[in-house]
């Protein structure tokens, strides 16, 4: 079982490395999108500091969702997805591996880009550290949920936008706990509650999402 996980995971990473520019597009989008807010809202540091956590989280959400459609679409169009599912390895493991690969290529870069963004938005060091930690727990949730959406919308015409519409409401708890953690630290209270909830959410999603993704893949390919 772990052999299949490693095989699928390394394959996806290798493919992403071959298309490095494409793989980094979500991160570029992330930076651009976040930069729009000071332009739209005004550059006063006090305002930016207040909205920073929420802005970073929402933009991370959108950046994640934009790239997740490709998670299965490319494999589907050249037939390798069907091969993977026919290979006899549990589809749940394949789904988990793909979500892990998506996080490695999209989520992790977002987490690494976050401190730079935080500086642009004049966040305090404590808030910034909390934001990075929260994103570390939250971006895997986004990748896992994105996998469900990608599987459900496989091969459909407006799959990209449809996927975002389907999955965004489900990401709201992660958004609330993740940006709330930063808000707590900014107000001087402990964010441990938020982190516990984020951790619980991650575990719950890691258990449920690959299963739902596997089921959705089978439905889409029948």
């Amino acid at each position: 079982m772990s052999a299949a996980f490693v095989a699928v995971y390394t394959r996806d990473i290798r493919l992403a490395l071959r298309r490095r520019v494409e793989a980094l597009l979500p991160v570029v989008f992330f930076v651009v999108a976040v930069s729009l807010f000071p332009v739209g809202v005004g550059p006063e540091p006090q305002t930016l500091r207040v909205i920073a956590a929420g802005v970073v989280w929402v933009c991370a959400l959108l950046a994640s969702m934009l790239s997740v459609a490709n998670l299965y679409a490319l494999d589907h169009s050249d037939g390798s997805l069907e091969q993977m599912l026919l290979s006899g390895h549990p589809p749940t493991v394949i789904a988990a591996a793909k979500a892990a690969a998506h996080w490695t290529t999209t989520g992790a870069p977002l987490v690494l880009a976050a401190p730079v963004i935080g500086l642009l938005l004049d966040m305090s060091p404590a808030a910034l550290a909390t934001l990075v930690a929260a994103l570390l727990l939250g971006t895997p949730v986004l990748s896992l949920l994105g996998g469900v959406g990608a599987a459900l919308t496989l091969g459909l015409r407006s799959a990209g936008v449809l996927l975002i519409l389907l999955i965004l409401p489900l990401t709201i708890p992660a958004l609330i706990f993740g940006s709330g953690a930063v808000g707590a630290v900014d107000s001087g209270i402990s964010a441990s509650g938020h982190f516990s909830l984020l951790g619980a959410l991650l575990i719950f999603t890691a258990l449920i999402a690959p299963l739902a993704t596997a089921v959705a893949l089978r439905i889409a390919l029948e």
């Binding site: 469900v148 459900l152 409401p169 706990f177 709330g180 959410l201 089921v215």
Partner: protein, 248 residues
Amino acid sequence: MSSLRWSTFSAPSRFYALVNVLNPWLWGLAIALTLAGLYMGFFVAPVDATQGNSYRIIFIHVPAAWLSMVLYLAMAFWAAIGWMLNARMASMLARAIAPTGAVFTFLALWTGSFWGKPTWGTWWVWDARLTSELILLFLYLGYIALVSSIDDAVRGDKAGAVLALVGAVNVPIIYFSVVWWNTLHQGATISMTAAPKMAQTMLMAMLLMTLAFWAYAFAVVFTRAQALAVEREGHADWVRMVARKELQ
């Protein structure tokens, strides 16, 4: 009809006939309950001490909100049944529920807004209940969008079932997170749950209206399910017979 089993009505033709029998009664029930509920709400229930007469919106706001939540669960339930038992009619029923659920969610938001304006001064309040209703509306719209985008009926039914179930599982989590978020940002002062202390007559009226909405929901969903059955089984004999009879 000889020995009636529930599974008898899983055949679209029999379901169609059943609805034709049931719907007049359901409509009658809906109208009667509405008249009774509104009479009670407007001519029996007293004025509220703090909110005056504006609170009377509660007689449609709360029933709409309850129905919006119950219908989502019903939709997920029937979608799951249709998927697991391969029962086409159950899947069609799930699809038929979605628009009505979305309408009730919209009404809960609209009436909530109109209640909030005189009470809190703004047309929209980001309290836990209204925010959750808004997210529920997104979940309904997502389901409708997904099943509409899938041309193959069977794939659409199954994918819809997965989405509805994933949504149903997430609804408590989402609600909890929204309540958490709300208490963090506003405290418990602004809340739609600060409803007037309910007199017996107010509760009675609300209950009657809830039952009225329920009967209405059944009737509308059943009609839509009939439409879906005809759309899907277009070439079947029973459809032609029904068409001949009803299009005279």
